[in-house]
Amino acid sequence: MWRKQPEGKPSPSATPAAPSAFAPPSYTPPAEKSTGASPSPSKPAAAIPPAPVPSPEAAILTQGIRIRGELTGKADLFIDGDVEGSIRLGDSRLTVGPSGHVKADIEAREIYIRGDVQGNLRGRERITLGNSCHVKGDLESPRIAIEDGAQFKGRVEMGPAADARERQIKRTAPAITPSVTPSSTDSTPTSVPIEASAKK
């Protein structure tokens, strides 16, 4: 029924899991308590960055603003409102605040989520799921950090594979121009340029 275990493999006997009965073949000490990450030299675990504070240059979609359509641009963006569609920020950083609700596939250099997101996330450098986030979708990024308490359902691709794929996409993809494309069938408000919404 069970394969014969070579030397060094665990014993097949159902012995009590007494701590002193084990001899670990190797041990990598756990990283900092907050993340539980175990960093490796080849794929450094992403440290949790500080809580998102929108930079002065970042565009801000505040609570109460709703956008349906395609968001593209080169500026950092902080979303605390509702967005439905797709978000592509190229080399910029996207932060979804605790009150943010996003139903969109997201591509950005860095993505920090503290609100609700439904959609696939592709972070060119890093994705961070904050402890208050609720994410349903797939994550793809060279570095992914997940705080304790984050709620996530989906597939994760991290490390060199995601990194290499990202570089390939970058080589072949055309430059992203800042624009907001309104949804043609959208009757709800509003498709506004990022710059305009930043003034709200």
């Binding site: 159902a14 899991a17 992914i144 991290m158």
Partner: protein, 242 residues
């Protein structure tokens, strides 16, 4: 570099325990023997089940793993560093949300549309139409943690059967079962090849049953092989192979 510094494996029994106070130290420190003062059974747990589970999937290349517990970066990193593609699906939370939504819908239904309330079995069936919807034979490994202790009865056999379908032949499922009612609700994360960290996350109350060994084996009877380990901390580990 292996921090054990080439010492014999038997001399490193206490490594995971000792490391907790050292953090991510990279210097060579001799392992600290387990004593009553530094042994923390509620936090770090040496796991025979995990050791066997990892051994079973150690030959898998480009494997796929499904984690049915709460997402944990430590566990994600552990498997991704070993070449696995990881899918996380907090099934217990999904079930609770689904059930709340169903109940809310029943409460808010206008009298004209009111039908007979769905039976628990029907609700479970509806839930599984949208949950655990993965391709057959998709995963080489599944981490179930202790969700079978906390799932409603009508879901148990359905989930076990669905797990069988989505696991690749030869794939393994690791599950935990409490042998006595736990004092708290826990989440689990993998620390190393044979250590699981057990993190209390809330008061007790979500634990619904204590499985007898025979019940566990019956539940996973479709699997080719089943094996359980009982720990001194009243946590039983089940390892099932398709």
């Amino acid at each position: 570099m292996n921090w054990m510094g080439g010492k014999s494996r038997l001399g490193a029994v206490a490594a995971p325990m000792a490391s907790k106070t050292r953090g991510a130290a990279s210097t060579v420190v001799p392992p600290t023997p387990i004593t009553k003062s530094n042994h923390k059974p509620d936090s770090f747990r040496l796991s025979n089940g995990l050791k066997d589970f990892l051994w079973l999937i150690s030959d898998v290349e480009n494997g796929r793993l499904l984690d049915l517990g709460q997402v944990s970066q430590a566990t994600l990193n552990f498997f991704i560093e070993r070449g696995f593609r990881v899918t996380t699906d907090d099934m217990l939370r999904s079930w609770k949300e689904f059930r709340s939504a169903e109940e809310e819908q029943q409460r808010n239904a206008p009298p004209s549309d009111f039908n007979e309330p769905l039976s628990p079995e029907e609700i479970a069936q509806h839930f599984l139409q949208n949950s655990l919807q993965y391709s057959d034979d998709q995963f080489n490994a599944v981490l179930v943690w202790d969700i079978f202790d906390r799932l409603d009865a009508e879901l148990l056999s359905r989930v076990a059967s669905r797990l069988y379908d989505i696991v690749h032949p030869g794939g393994a499922v690791l599950a935990l079962f409490h042998s006595k009612t736990p004092e708290r609700t826990y989440r689990y994360r993998i620390v190393d090849n044979q250590t699981i960290e057990i993190v209390p996350i809330g008061p007790a109350g979500t634990h619904l049953r204590i499985f007898q060994n025979r019940e566990i084996l019956n539940l996973f009877s479709r699997f080719r092989s089943a094996k359980t380990f009982v720990g001194r901390d009243q946590l039983r580990e089940g390892l099932f192979i398709k």
